[in-house]
Each structure stands twice: as structure tokens, then as C-alpha cells.
């Protein structure tokens, strides 16, 4: 089935470097490829500094990709875009941000924030239509439409993240990049937001690129998962492929580190260590090896032999 579908987003050999000084360049993302299909949730996990946030921002063109090709809905969005492509990218791809306070302009009213995309892209025919769209959206995300004229600081963290979700989803996007969108929230609020995101996906059939460091949440929400380490995609596959049959030692160590809310198991669990610099693995030499289905792992031929036979 999967092979027949046309991917919604195709990232091929994406590289994103940042020049810090004349001599020093940070290679935040190094040769990363993956695909997202319509309506699915792709989870991107990795620790801080793994380049997961950078990938999200490069895709939505907050950064200029250094090299590689990004195809979205069949259009090349990695190079110079014509007006129509630019518009389509900014309407059909949306982002939900990490910090519910910093991602909402404190001097703007909630209705202005939510309608921002409509205003910039002139999507509403009339003032009345715009207002109706905002009211509908507020109700969808479980906020009181009467509060549309309030300011962000008058809301709690969870409510603010709902506003952020409303702002993205009012554009009817095909892909939503959720960049650590729950990690700044309290546990009980996280669950509310994740439920809301799932509900909205059922309604609108949008795809999510869910970027997080919390593996248990990623496992819960994602259909497919990509594991990032030091700017490289070390392993990607469906949720079950990754969790039931992890190949790469980094993935294994990451899975072993997830704290489980079960004291009897947790107290006994031992953590698998992994140190890239001492392991002798060189990500730059690695190639993508197909394990099965959509499950691929970054390794040299010998490493692949060793890991799969072990």
C-alpha cells in the first residue's frame, strides 16, 4: 500500500550548515532523507543538538537549506520559489511551536493571532467570514469564542498551546510541523494537547511531523519514526519496526533510557550506554541500509552485518 501512495513531503539528502565564523561551520543537519505520507504522523526523535528542530525549520523555510531537495505536494520548495509555490507552502504547511508563551505575540489579541495567516494570505472574503472562521476554530480547539478579544497572558499554558494549534489549523494545512509542542507543558496538560491534536487529525486528515525528545509520547502518537543523532538520521521505520526491532546501537540505548512509570520494572531496568566517539562508528561513512519494509538504518556494510546478525 505504502509504495503506491505519493508522499506528501519528500526530504532528500538535506544538509543545513550554519557558518559561525570564517573557520567554523556547524553542521546541524547532515544528509537526512525521509518521506511523510498524507494523513500520517511522522515522529522525529533525538536529543538536544541532534538537529531535529533545524530540520523542521528548514522544511518550512525558516532557514535556507544548504543542500538537498525538499519536495512538498510535488513542488520543489528547497530552492528559489515562484510566488504561487511560496504561497502554497505557507498555507499548506504550518507549524506549532514549543513555548506557548513565546510563540504568541503578547501585544496581539487572540483573534488577531489566530487570523494572522488568513490576513497575510487574504483568505477571507469579508470581515464577517474572517470572524466566523476564528469563532469556529476557537470552538474546535475547546476555547470559549467570547475570549477572542483577550490577550495571550490571560490564558494558561495549555490554553495558549490551543491557540497556537488554532492558528496553524485555521489554514487547513496538509502538513503540520509540531516542534516540541508539548514539552513545555505540565503532564496532565500534555495529554489534553495530544488528544486535541489527534482529534484534529481525524477531522482534517492532515499529516504531522511530530518533533520531540519524549519517546513515550512519540510512540503513542506516531505511525512512523525517525531517530536522529548528531544531525544524521540513524534509523527510520514504522513505530513497531523501531520499537520491536531496533538495529542501531544509538536507537537501542535511547529506547533503554525511556523512563517507564512502573516502579517494579523501572527499579530493575539497566540502561544501555552508547558513546559515539568511543564506538568507532562514523556516521559520514554510513549508508542507508534497508532492513525490511520502510525500516532503514544508517551503517556501513560491515556494521549492518554485525548489528543484524547479533
Amino acid at each position: 500500500m505504502t509504495e503506491e501512495r505519493e508522499p506528501l513531503l519528500k526530504v532528500e539528502h538535506l544538509k543545513q550548515y550554519f557558518k559561525v565564523s570564517r573557520k567554523f561551520t556547524v553542521k546541524a543537519v547532515n544528509d537526512v532523507s525521509f518521506e511523510i505520507y498524507p494523513g500520517e504522523t511522522y515522529g522525529l526523535v533525538g536529543e538536544s543538538g541532534s538537529g531535529k528542530t533545524t530540520i523542521g525549520r528548514s522544511i518550512i523555510r525558516l532557514y535556507e537549506p544548504t543542500a538537498g531537495k525538499i519536495t512538498f505536494e510535488g513542488m520543489d520548495v528547497s530552492g528559489k520559489m515562484d510566488k504561487e509555490t511560496f504561497r502554497k507552502l505557507h498555507c499548506d504547511m504550518q507549524m506549532i511551536f514549543q513555548d506557548p508563551m513565546a510563540s504568541l505575540n503578547p501585544r496581539k489579541r487572540v483573534d488577531e493571532i489566530i487570523a494572522q495567516g488568513i490576513d497575510i494570505n487574504h483568505m477571507a472574503g469579508s470581515e464577517a467570514e474572517r470572524k466566523q472562521m476564528v469563532i469556529d476554530m476557537l470552538e474546535e480547539v475547546g476555547l470559549d469564542p467570547d475570549h477572542a478579544t483577550r490577550y495571550p497572558h490571560q490564558f494558561s499554558g495549555g490554553q495558549r498551546q490551543r491557540i497556537g494549534i488554532a492558528r496553524a489549523l485555521i489554514m487547513n494545512p496538509k502538513l503540520v510541523i509540531a516542534d516540541e509542542c508539548i514539552s513545555a507543558l505540565d503532564v496532565s496538560i500534555q495529554a489534553q494537547v495530544v488528544n486535541l491534536m489527534k482529534d484534529m487529525q481525524d477531522k482534517t486528515h492532515c499529516a504531522y511531523l511530530f518533533i520531540a525528545h519524549d519517546l513515550s509520547m512519540v510512540k503513542y502518537i506516531s505511525d512512523r519514526i525517525g531517530v536522529l543523532h548528531l544531525g544524521h538520521m540513524v534509523e527510520t521505520g514504522t513505530r513497531d519496526e523501531i520499537f520491536d526491532n531496533p538495529i542501531h546501537p544509538y536507537t537501542k540505548s535511547l529506547l533503554s533510557a525511556i523512563p517507564s512509570p512502573n516502579p517494579k520494572v523501572e527499579k530493575k531496568r539497566k540502561y544501555m550506554t552508547y558513546n559515539y566517539y568511543e564506538s568507532g562508528i562514523d556516521y559520514d561513512k554510513g549508508m542507508e541500509h534497508l532492513v525490511e519494509g520502510t525500516h532503514t538504518v544508517l551503517a556501513t556494510d560491515e556494521e549492518f552485518q554485525k548489528w543484524t546478525n547479533a
Binding site: 494558561s156 496532565s188 495529554a191 513515550s216 525511556i258 512502573n262 520494572v265 540502561y271
Partner: protein, 357 residues
């Protein structure tokens, strides 16, 4: 062996004066801690868990008002005899001289903010020993090396001369722990010690704290909202909500036999790796602001199981066992029969099964 109580908090109630009014951050908290044991204080932001810890250390902010309560701390004086003090009655200077760093040490969430960027690691570790015990410099340095080794830092001689910015996040947190351990404290308070760190490093830091605790027989208080951390480290759990304890018990009692609806929500809001339900069980709404007087049970408006009495009278603590208490009217005999939500029931069954595997 008899348990030796080192911290006893009774009826603690603290408010804060803010520009927009008085916030009642803690509203009557009782807590006990015994030597060598680990207590985790769990709650959402604003539940008062950090304020409780700060009260225990005597480092409350200047706009705070202690309405009532005692924080009795028992420690071994220099002479070796045990001494009990009420931290809330001590002056700032006395606390600095006798308690902080010496008998109670704290590890904060962000290692960078608790390290001095202009001082070498070695100096920061030896500083408190020299200040509290007048340890000779050479001896203090020898001990600092020992401590760095204890917290698992390789090449400690070299690291002693490093500045904080030269270390990675996980290393810095190790250094903070070494500093905290410098004076052999009786009590270590860890305020979200791993939230700023990656999962892989998180696990190692927790194991490290545990190892040290066993070696030195100290008590540890964890302040966290991460139930995975609680499951890993805690012996006892105190669940806080809106400035009150709502449930306390051993870690097994809290995870396998929770009685308070808030604990249910907290437990099931975090998916375990086998959660396959379409939706997570959630507590609706968000915690109340503590500016207004709360009538009855503060959790009632968010509680699916709220009883009419909850809107009028705050429930007392009901005692299920010597260690297990919960504050909810559902435990009164007159309460209607009720069942845990199926999500949490399924979860507990799964957890127990997993254990037997």
C-alpha cells in the same frame, strides 16, 4: 532497624505577596522524611512543590509570608550529638552558617544557573568545605578529586581547573552534585534535576544520585512532575495539588493502588510504551490560581468524580495503611461506589503483568 526521622513538616502554610494580590502557595502541608530514604514530591507547576522544598531549606523568597507551621530538621552536630531545629524560626545567617550546604544541599534544574561561570570547578567544590569546616586547602582539594570521581567524571585533575562552560550539560549536573555532596549533607533536595537533560543522560544522573545515596546513607527529596523519574528513584511519593497534599504513600501504593482521582489522572496522562488507546485519559482544565480563597476541594471543578460535599468542605486525609493516605471524600463510607477509570485500570493490570514477565 528503627527509622530515624530527619525532617518533619507540620501544618505548613505559606503565601506570597505579589503585585496582583496574595497567592496562597501552600495551604497546610504535613510531610516526614527518614534517614536514607527517598521521597518524591509530585505535582504540576504551581502545586507548591518547589515552595515546600525552599521552605525546608530556609531559602524562601523575600515576598513570602509564613502563615503557620513548623519545619523540624534533625541533624548530627559537629560533636556528633543529634540536634533538632525549626528551620522557619532560624535567621538567614544561622541557616547559611549551619544548614545550607552543610546539612541540606540542593541540586537545581538548570546546572548552568547554579554554577559560577567565573570560578573553576575545583574552587567551587572546595569553597563550601573551607567555609563550613575550615578544611585546609590541600585536604579540601583531595576530597574534591574524590568527589569528582564519585560522580563519574573522568580525568578529575584536569576537570578541577576547567570552567563550567567547558563542560557538557550532563557533566555540569555531575559537578553540581559533587558540590552538593562536598560537606556530606544529611539531606539532598533535587529540584527537577534532569528535566534540562536528554533522556540518555537523565538515566545516568538518576543512577548516580542513587548510588551516592546508598553509599553515604543520606535522604533525598525529589521534586518532579515526571512519573518515570519517580518510579525509578522514589521509596515514598507525595502528590501535591494546589498547595496541598492529596495523596501520599509508598511508590507501589501510589502506582498500583492510587485512590485519589487526581493521582489517577496524573498516572494515565503519561502514556507508557504500550498505551494503544485512541485517547489518553486526561484531567480537563488547568490548575486553579491560588489568588482566590478556595472553598472546598480545590480539585473538584476538574474532577469527574466530584461529590456535592467537595464544593463545600475540603476532605480530610483518610488513612488506608500506615503509609498510604489520601484526601478525597470518595473514601468516606457514605460515598457512592465508584471504580477507577478503565484506562488506568488497564494500565495497572499491564504494569503488574509486565513485572511478572
Amino acid at each position: 532497624m528503627a527509622r530515624e526521622k530527619i525532617m518533619e513538616v507540620r501544618d505548613l502554610s505559606i503565601s506570597f505577596k505579589t503585585t496582583t494580590g496574595i497567592v496562597n502557595a501552600i495551604r497546610g502541608v504535613d510531610m516526614d522524611l527518614y534517614r536514607g530514604e527517598t521521597v518524591a514530591i509530585v505535582g504540576e507547576s504551581g502545586s507548591g512543590k518547589s515552595v515546600t522544598a525552599k521552605a525546608m531549606m530556609g531559602i524562601l523568597a523575600s515576598n513570602s509570608i509564613v502563615n503557620s507551621g513548623t519545619v523540624k530538621f534533625t541533624y548530627n552536630d559537629n560533636g556528633g550529638e543529634s540536634k533538632t531545629v525549626d528551620i522557619l524560626k532560624m535567621s538567614k545567617n544561622e541557616i547559611r552558617r549551619d544548614i545550607n550546604g552543610k546539612h541540606i544541599a540542593m541540586v537545581f534544574q538548570d546546572p548552568m544557573t547554579s554554577l559560577d561561570p567565573t570560578m573553576t570547578i575545583g574552587k567551587q567544590i572546595t569553597e563550601s568545605m573551607i567555609w563550613h569546616y575550615k578544611t585546609p586547602k590541600a585536604e579540601a582539594e583531595a576530597k574534591a578529586l574524590e568527589l569528582l570521581e564519585l560522580v563519574g567524571i573522568t580525568d578529575p585533575e584536569k576537570r578541577m581547573k576547567n570552567y563550567p562552560h567547558q563542560l557538557s550539560g550532563g557533566m555540569r549536573q555531575r559537578v553540581v552534585i559533587a558540590i552538593a555532596m562536598a560537606c556530606d549533607p544529611d539531606l539532598l533536595i533535587c529540584d527537577e534535576p534532569t528535566t534540562a537533560l536528554d533522556v540518555t543522560i537523565q538515566a545516568r544522573i538518576l543512577e548516580l544520585i542513587k548510588d551516592i545515596q546508598v553509599k553515604k546513607n543520606i535522604s533525598v527529596i525529589y521534586i518532579t512532575h515526571d512519573l518515570g523519574v519517580v518510579a525509578k528513584v522514589a521509596d515514598y511519593v507525595d502528590v501535591m495539588y494546589a498547595g496541598k497534599l492529596v495523596e501520599k504513600g509508598t511508590v507501589d501504593e501510589i502506582f498500583y493502588e492510587p485512590r485519589h482521582p487526581y493521582t489517577w489522572g496524573l498516572l494515565s496522562a503519561m502514556p507508557d510504551l504500550d498505551t494503544r488507546d485512541d485517547r489518553l485519559y486526561t484531567i480537563p482544565g488547568s490548575p486553579p490560581t491560588l489568588k482566590n480563597e478556595i472553598k472546598g476541594d480545590a480539585f473538584a471543578p476538574r474532577n469527574k468524580y466530584a461529590l456535592n460535599i467537595d464544593t463545600r468542605i475540603d476532605p480530610p486525609m483518610f488513612k488506608m495503611s500506615d503509609t498510604h493516605y489520601a484526601a478525597t471524600w470518595l473514601l468516606d463510607d457514605r460515598a457512592p461506589t465508584h471504580d477507577m477509570p478503565p484506562e488506568i485500570k488497564g494500565r495497572i493490570e499491564r504494569m503488574l503483568k509486565e513485572e511478572n514477565k
